[in-house]
């Protein structure tokens, strides 16, 4: 995503960020440098820092030295959470690269994740950002963990509770993206009203982003997303389209029974996917994505620079049409 046109405005910031992160993961402990470098070089869309940089570029009185450490902290927190996620999911590959747990084992990966979380706060403290910044970062990790814990607790329960789903993805995904925009706006010293608007923008595209992710898990091919369709169902996680299917499908009871099955056969998984796709579930979820994108457009303050305004619109649009 970062290579796309929409982030041209902050292209140089994103290049600097890579250098900054590689510098930050240097440690007297060789193994830590090695793991950190592997994680940074494994790439990623850098969506959160890109959205952060865009907000930063709305400001006139930005203190340049305050920009990069917070961007690195944001991405390192994201990285740490992915390292722990991959341990939790026993994932071998991420974005075509071996995961830390597949290379160094679960134990070292858990510790490396802890190290990256702490390093993020150490960057923040060193740069003497305000308590407000530390608070937002700490809170988003709390939310992230809460969201994952709820998700984990709810697996194989085939819950039909849409409000539980929305609360979970808000905590797991949208809050982090919202915080990335908000933090940029704070560093840019924007008026509180604009800080709030950019946070709301981030929240809205974050929700759209996660629903799209959940949709792709149902509809994308192995080639597109690097894993077979229906992976969430296999893991016992119900997402918006599936919940909708549980509500409207004539085969709702059969679907519910399948969703509660651990170690599901391929046949059962195919049957579940068929039941979901026979309903308007995909259309329904796409409609929700559109609602959030519209909301994102609506809350974008017209007072910000045109280049940033347009980049934020493109970022929102890119989520709607995302296929991977």
């Amino acid at each position: 995503m970062s290579s796309n046109k929409m982030f041209d405005v902050v292209k140089e910031d994103l290049v600097k960020l890579e250098k900054e992160m590689l510098a930050v993961v240097q440690s007297p402990i060789e193994l830590i440098t090695e793991i950190g470098t592997h994680l940074v070089n494994s790439g990623g869309k850098r969506l959160r820092p890109a959205l952060y940089f865009l907000a930063v570029r709305c400001g006139n009185s930005v203190d340049e030295k305050n920009i990069m450490p917070l961007a690195a902290a944001i991405e390192m927190i994201h990285m740490a959470s992915l390292v722990h996620d991959d341990v939790i999911d026993s994932a071998d590959m991420r974005r075509g690269t071996p995961t830390a747990n597949s290379k160094w084992g679960n134990q070292i990966s858990i510790l490396s994740g802890d190290y990256l979380f702490a390093k993020a706060f150490s960057l923040i403290a060193k740069q003497n950002y305000s308590s407000r910044v530390t608070m937002i970062l700490a809170q988003l990790i709390c939310d992230l963990s809460e969201g994952e814990i709820i998700q984990n607790k709810e697996t194989f329960r085939a819950s039909k509770d849409k409000s539980e789903y929305y609360a979970r993805i808000a905590k797991k995904t949208a809050n982090f993206i919202a915080a990335s925009c908000e933090l940029g706006a704070i560093v840019a010293k924007l008026p509180e009203k604009e800080i709030d608007a950019l946070r709301q923008y981030g929240e809205a595209i974050g929700m759209a982003f996660q629903i799209t992710d959940d949709l792709l898990d149902l509809t994308a091919t192995q080639e597109e997303i690097g894993k077979p369709a229906g992976n969430d169902i296999l893991q016992g996680i119900v997402t918006l389209p599936v919940i909708h299917a549980l509500e409207v499908s004539p085969n709702s009871e059969e679907l519910q029974a399948i969703l509660k099955t651990r170690d599901m056969s391929n046949d059962l998984l195919s049957r579940a996917l068929d039941i979901v796709q026979a309903t308007d579930a995909v259309e329904y979820a796409r409609g929700k994505v559109d609602e959030y994108i519209t909301k994102a457009y609506d809350v974008l303050p017209s007072s910000i620079p045109t280049a940033v305004f347009e980049a934020y619109q493109l970022a929102a649009d890119s989520i709607r049409i995302r296929t991977y």
Copy 2:
């Protein structure tokens, strides 16, 4: 330890801390409250907050509202690291209570540890402590993770490197205890010289504490420490007395071969323990403990209140005679 006479001076602080921690782990997510409450109620010596409170009580101009949140943050970071340690070691019990991973599984435990780390920083940010405080907390988690990563990487290598051992236990244990004293001194607004002295005191007793821990692992009975003697050897971890035995034993090569063995038989373990105990290894390590305790006595500033001074001396002594 906290119930001992040495911490009488801060007894009320320690009682308040329990309440504070139970309040902090309250979450809208019931499961998180349940896990947090279990962890707080599982007890522990509260050594770090006790040493912190003692330093706080050296001050005349302490801002009372600044005392408790940092104490809770310190103990919650310790708790989080234990939760992750127990996942890493697949431990079922700690201090006679089931571990989080044995009750809720590895996945939820990893996330709960992350949650507790983040909650600690959120407490700090909310109370608006200085960046220096945040920095010390972040740095100690980095050190802790680094120490554990070194330890993990070195397992089953039977390394004879004493400086590697000292560096590892400094990062893993002593830095945290040093930081607890230092943070109390900072909150108490003591002069920099006393802050530094109390940090050094903490560093010294921290080293003594870990060497004693490593000694007990060799010499204590199952009843005393709740696990069979030689547990470190079984896990491939070499400690000071074992390194010393590798240096001086006539059976050094045999010992080295055993230490590299995974899934060791009871006979091999007994043989290793016998080889170590036939040397002056235990005496040697006790000598090192005494050196650190003497250093702790030496650096304690005479300018601090007598009651605290004596409590710190008792705390140091208690490490020397500790049997569990």
